[in-house]
Point group: C2
Chain length 118, copies 2
DNA sequence: CTGAATATTCCGCTCATCAACATGTCGTCT
DNA sequence: AGACGACATGTTGATGAGCGGAATATTCAG
């Protein structure tokens, strides 16, 4: 049974989000997740790779074939269409939570699309 | 260990959010969480109460004293100032995640505060 | 009285995370 | 050449969060 359901764990969400931007291999992913989350998530290798295996198992990501420009080895991963779907669903869930938080005065007013595209 | 850190679990977030609106006792909370999350979270009694005990332990909620209007028994809980702080921090974290998701086309444009503010 | 809804506690299970260890490659400094 | 640190990919064992259900009471409706 690889029936993935909501909610996704924060780590799975972060991984999918990072891979939504570009294909990456495990080690780079580990660093990207930490930067992207402003240090809130800082998974060790054990956590990262087991999460990766789970996501592969559930078909949310797949092995990529982008060779590293610098010739270093490293299997890379990319998000699958199923992963994109689930990420979209999770984003909607978070949006609802945030809307509630806002209504109760626990979140800032919504701001237009962020300038963090880099 | 009662050192609560980010990220909060979805269930803890939902509980704090529900208690931010009004003081509730366990059973009512269980139902409120389910409604509030549109059915995504539907904790059983064991799950709910153990989460509640954890939150109490960490000082994020405290026992309330609002008597039930219908005279039924029931210890009620309310959010603490520490809980409010952490909820605010978690909301900010979610906001950052959503901003990223939006930048990658995985979330709808932000909408002004929802109409569920009672 | 009986049964449904309310309200809480306890137990056993699974799964995600973490810390630590193991292995190997590549580039650089000495 | 040898050593060292960053890169890269895993495994293992323990812990703790969350799950689901059984058990226990109380209260309200029929």
């Amino acid at each position: 049974m690889s029936a993935q359901e909501l909610p996704l764990t924060p780590l799975s969400t972060a991984i999918l989000l990072a891979l939504a931007k570009e294909e990456l291999h495990g080690y780079a992913l580990m660093q990207e997740v930490e930067v992207q989350s402003a240090g809130v998530l800082a998974p060790g290798t054990g956590t990262l790779y087991s999460a990766l295996m789970r996501l592969l198992d559930d078909g949310l990501i797949e092995e990529g074939d982008a060779p590293r420009p610098d010739g270093r080895r490293g299997r890379s991963y990319r998000i699958s269409s199923q992963g994109r779907e689930l990420l979209r669903a999770e984003a909607e869930r978070l949006d609802r939570v945030l809307a509630l938080a806002r209504a109760r005065g626990f979140a800032p007013e919504p701001r237009p699309a962020a300038g963090s595209g880099s």
